[in-house]
Symmetry: C2
Subunit: 414 residues, 2 copies
């Protein structure tokens, strides 16, 4: 690098002020936020971000997928763009840090670069990606930007088609716009993201920064166990075809299977829906929301087969029919060596301790990993809490992460 | 009896016509009806019943609980009332016969008595009781009429307080009206009900009529298994406190417990509700809708203790908290000897075969069993289907039941 940026730091108080303003939108009484994708609260957060970008004097940019960003142009208008970012949506009744920290840090990096009048060789962009969490589609905005979003993803979203259409309408977006939001590969210089760890590894290892080596993949299904609705008083226990039994047994056995045979994977039954769902009717149908994650394709394929076999066995055992609906997958993604090196050097410059780790959570970076160098860092989550109002990261750790993001961005952009 | 009524029969075509009109209200595409208590469809059925009563020239009567009836007065206005009846509400996505047959048969009995100008010593009343099925409170109208309804029943109904209040408002009723709908004990001469069996015993035994000896009791609870919401990708399987595991294991083990130790009882988990209920969040809380039925108080008390112990054990096994909410009970009820004898004599007169059996389902008669002679008969359910659109009873069996109801009513009223 021709200039020495090594002493440059973000402004912690300015970032905290913006972070707190954002955390007040969709705030829940227990210090969390409830901003499911394209809900009213999420739209309010998006509106605040847009106004904050404009009030800060940055160029505001949006696209057909509703991704919002602040742009700091460089002198060469044909230069590619280095994107920094994360997302402003939350899971239902989630925490203040997940996503929001990464967006606020990205914008703070832009502010710091601009006020120090640093000349970069790329456009710098602070991005809020639409619908990261998957209450609608999941990684929707980043997939659209990367050109990976397909019509099928919108036809059969894991949050339900009706809910997606309501959200699209509420946000003033369109499906055609989403499907034509792709950027050209050669316009992208890279993507860097700061995020909370959402686990306990940094805390246990007493390290400041986690440099992500890979993001695990995620597969999801809706499994429907189907029996027979009958009167719950007059039908003998022996005569019932009770859908709850297949669903319950699958839930217990899926956990045992993963614990026993897939130590690098995790599985979750996040929801069951009972029909008809009355006290006095034997459940006819139980829809199980199933998600599982693995670090590589081979383990994924094995786990997928084992879980589907298990569901069939449990359905058969209780005299039930089984319907399986594949809701989509994200493949595991390796993070770029260039980005990992830039993060490691930034940690050295800032005298912060670090470890390498994989991400058990999905992130927008995986949408972009085949288009440009993608890198990601984590800061410690107290007690590993995540997707919960209990989620918390010490502010100094947030500041450390933003400084590492700044230093790494300068390395990639210099 | 001074008069010989033994050759008197109801009009099958007239009853069928009324039955079919009623079955068209809230009809589902699969030949069932969807008329949950005080829903729009249920209110439409109630309105049709009122108009049909008035068009048939009977006096229409209603009370603070919204019970609707046709009255055929006798010459002595101080004479007590013999009520015949059932209910017009259905379970969600239920069948055409449950409740509706009993109300239509009761009204047809009044029409037959009136057109034959028979003088009775009691007032005769054909009743539609409000909210029998328990989508709101369960046996609401009959409990109110019997003076058993308490403020607590309305405060904490099994269908949820909000849903009850919406229904009350929609129907133009009031809580104070419900709590003051009791009739005087000495105004009641008895209560008789015709209902479909909702089981296979008559079909298996090839008998025309089942004379009910007792109605089993029903207890219900909401059991909440409470763990911790965590990220379903970043939290190891070992670190989770997943509420779905306690709920699932309880569901499976409760069935085993009843099969093993309580052969006269049944248990049902009709619904589980997951919170927060997202694909990528470990379930923090699962609310289980639990109902169980036993024929006598001793078995009830033992089963109740065993199920609550089991719930506690399963919660503990998976590191969960347990909250138990008792939602109410109906004690087992013996049917009156007087009514059973009247039904048996009616079967003899009509040359119909009969057996004695207990009712695994709750019915409005149990609300009245401590106030006046209560009796109940069943007609065969094809394949035992119940609380389902598959519910079906041959029309000749319905006609047989209505004739037995007529003959038994004449015996009690003569």
């Amino acid at each position: 690098m021709p200039q020495d940026f090594s002493t440059l730091r973000i402004n912690p108080d300015r970032m905290l002020d913006a972070f707190n303003q954002l955390a007040s939108i969709g705030a829940t009484p227990d210090s969390g936020v409830d901003r499911p994708s394209l809900s009213e609260a999420h739209l309010a957060a998006r509106k605040w971000f847009r106004e904050h970008i404009e009030q800060s004097g940055f160029e505001f940019h949006t696209d057909g997928a509703g991704n919002h960003s602040a742009v700091l142009p460089c002198d060469d208008s044909s230069a590619p763009t280095l994107i920094l970012g994360s997302h402003l949506d939350s899971v239902p009744n989630g925490g203040r840090f997940d996503g929001a920290l990464g967006v606020m840090a990205a914008l703070e990096v832009l502010k710091t670069v601009r006020e120090n009048r640093i000349k970069l060789k790329v456009q710098l962009e602070a991005m809020d990606f639409t619908d990261e969490e998957g209450t609608l589609v999941g990684l929707l905005g980043s997939a659209a930007l990367a050109g990976h979003l397909r019509q099928e993803d919108l036809q059969n979203p894991r949050g339900g088609r009706d809910r997606l259409l309501e959200g699209i309408k509420r946000a003033g977006l369109s499906e055609s716009g989403m499907l034509s939001a792709a950027r050209k590969k050669d316009s992208l210089a890279g993507y860097l993201e700061l995020h909370i760890e959402q686990g306990k590894r940094l805390e246990s290892a007493k390290k400041d920064i986690g440099i992500v080596t890979a993001i695990v993949g995620i597969w999801s299904y809706r499994l429907s166990f189907i029996g027979k609705a009958d009167h719950a008083g007059t039908t003998t226990m022996e005569d019932r075809r009770d859908a709850s039994l297949g669903a319950s047994s699958f839930t217990l056995e899926a956990r045992e299977l993963v614990l026993r045979e897939f130590p690098n994977s995790v599985v979750n039954v996040g929801k069951m829906e009972f029909a008809p769902g009355a006290f006095n009717i034997v459940p006819e149908r139980v829809d199980v929301s199933l998600e599982f994650r693995s670090p590589n394709d081979e383990e994924f394929n094995q786990l997928n087969s084992a879980l589907l076999d298990l569901a069939r066995e449990e359905a058969e055992r209780f005299g039930l029919e089984l319907k399986t609906e594949f809701l989509g997958k994200h493949s595991p993604s390796l993070m770029s060596e260039i980005a990992r090196t830039a993060f490691a050097e930034a940690c050295n410059t800032l005298q912060l301790s670090r470890i390498d780790l994989s991400s058990g959570a999905g992130h927008d970076g995986q949408s972009l990993a085949d288009l440009c160098p993608v890198g990601m860092i984590f800061v410690p989550s107290v007690d590993g809490a995540s997707h919960s109002p209990r989620e918390f990261t010490k502010w100094q750790d947030c500041v450390n992460g933003a400084n590492v993001l700044l230093q790494a961005a300068l390395r990639l952009a210099g």
